[in-house]
């Protein structure tokens, strides 16, 4: 599943959020990754 999320109002830093998501994923036996949008933009758009 892929989800686009606006974290502008997140109280946690991106790093913290990424770690929390990954940890929660482990508890649920799934892999949860968070990736900043710029990487996709740079790679797939000129």
């Amino acid at each position: 599943m892929i989800m686009v999320v606006d974290i502008a109002k997140s109280t946690a830093s991106f790093e913290k959020l990424k770690n929390q998501l990954s940890q929660r994923g482990q508890e649920l036996s799934v892999r949860v990754d968070a990736q900043r949008e710029e990487v996709f933009h740079f790679m797939h758009r000129i």
Partner: protein, 454 residues
């Protein structure tokens, strides 16, 4: 944001399954203001400047890895060639400077520091001579210091006195680090047409024409390119292979551009260049040889290898050049034997020989790289191997280099183990015919007619 599902999945797969990473962020630092007549003062000034300018490099690189999810394998520093910085010292042994560089590297937490270097393509100054004579001790007493000597350019020709000196120095370095299979020689590279903004080791130095500080990024990604070539149908023609590699090179380079721009902004250091080099690692699946094999060669080194490598190198440049504003450094596929699992296998099985590797260096960067040869190879033969490689660079107006390890006590067929990114290598046989009189003639091989471009 407007991305397709496939685009997102492709990026994630490249990082997680195909080992896409940034090979290195290299911070170039000018040491031109560190000279003094006392070597201990120079060493102190260098240490202080490295600690001041380099303090944020590792923290920022870690931040970027975490935030963007792209591993940055090495963090490195390149400095002004030490022969220039130490020229005014009254002492002749420059080892204390290497030790200061090594200490700074350790204290900063970086992986390598390059620039224990001299540019001697047309002759030696006093500082150049002192630096060359200090290389064996400097490399055997330090861990992270890398050294390079430019002995030839297309404009100046080949300094054959320097070539012979480097043959002897390489032997000495290997002998002083014999307990580790001659690892010192793995940190020493001899160049023709050395680039001044190369982020890759062992050849990185901060050229005299560079600014005070600069960020140069070396991309990687053989695994990603191999995946795209392997996934092509077997009846895809070589034009289609080139096109697929080109598109992938664009994407890889864009990641480098993103990380480079961001590192430059956060460090407050101008962004220099992206080096469009496919750099392998010893891990399985991160091999240049495997890409060539995926194109249809039974083993790297088989007839057709030079053509396949030329195609690969050209496609990487074409795709990469579109993806970044400033291309520099070496920018070409690397073929370091010990650092590439596919090359190791090919050499072990006899598919890849020293002579074939020499031919391959005509169409890619860097040159004869990370090749172990028998420990009893003479300095003159090593010098002659260097001379051949320099001639390829000088005549074709390209960078070439030699990083060769005469492994003490080892003979052809034995293995050397360096560990980490430097990998392991089979000792390759060298021609037993002598070149002694030729290299002992010395002097300067003149530059070719095609260098008269003005």
């Amino acid at each position: 944001m407007n991305f397709t599902r496939d685009e997102i999945v492709e990026t994630i797969r490249m990082v997680q399954a195909e080992q896409l990473d940034i090979r290195t962020i290299t911070l170039g630092i000018s040491l031109r203001d560190c000279s003094d007549s006392s070597i201990s003062k120079v060493a102190d000034k260098i240490y202080d400047k490295l600690m001041e300018k380099g303090s944020n490099l590792v923290p920022v690189a870690r931040q970027l890895e975490e935030e963007f999810g792209i591993p940055i394998v090495n963090k490195r520093i390149a400095v002004t060639p030490i022969a220039m910085v130490a020229e005014s010292c009254k002492e002749r042994d420059y080892t204390p400077i290497a030790r200061a560089m090594d200490k700074a590297a350790r204290d900063l937490g970086i992986d390598f520091i390059g620039g224990f270097s001299a540019l001697v393509q047309k002759g030696f100054t006093r500082g150049d001579m002192n630096l060359l004579n200090s290389i064996p001790e400097a490399l055997s007493q330090t861990e992270m210091v890398c050294s390079s000597v430019n002995v030839a350019t297309s404009k100046a020709g080949i300094n054959m006195d320097a070539v012979l000196a480097m043959g002897r120095i390489i032997k000495e370095v290997a002998q002083l680090t014999a307990k580790q299979d001659g690892i010192g020689a793995a940190k020493l590279v001899v160049f023709a047409n050395a680039p001044e903004d190369n982020p890759f080791m062992a050849g990185a130095f901060h050229g005299p024409g560079e600014p005070e500080t600069t960020i140069n990024v070396g991309i990687s990604g053989p695994g990603v390119v191999n995946a795209v070539v392997s996934n092509l149908p077997t009846d895809a023609d070589l034009g289609q292979v080139s096109e697929a590699v080109k598109k992938m090179a664009f994407k890889i380079t864009r990641v480098g551009e993103l990380i480079g721009r961001e590192a430059s902004r956060r460090l407050g250091v101008p962004f220099g260049i992206i080096d469009l080099s496919l750099a392998p690692t010893p891990s399985i699946g991160d091999s240049i040889a495997n890409i060539l094999e995926s194109m249809g060669l039974e083993r790297c080194g088989a007839p057709g290898t030079t053509a396949a490598l030329a195609l690969l190198n050209d496609a990487v440049k074409k795709g990469g050049a579109m993806a970044t504003s400033y291309v520099g450094g070496l920018s070409g596929a690397f073929i370091p034997v010990s650092e590439d699992a596919g090359m190791i296998r090919a050499a072990e099985e006899g598919a890849l020989t020293l002579e074939k590797l020499e031919a391959m260096t005509c169409v890619c960067s860097v040159g004869l790289d990370m090749i172990a040869i028998p420990g009893d190879t003479s300095a003159e033969t090593i010098a002659a191997i260097i001379a051949d490689e320099m001639a390829i660079g000088v005549m074709n107006k390209k960078t070439t280099a030699v990083r060769i390890i005469p492994a003490p006590g080892k003979k052809a067929g034995d293995f050397v183990e360096f560990g980490g990114l430097l990998g392991r290598a089979p000792v390759m046989p060298v021609s037993s015919f002598a070149s002694t009189i030729f290299v002992q003639r010395g002097g300067q091989i003149p530059p070719p007619i095609q260098s008269l471009t003005n």
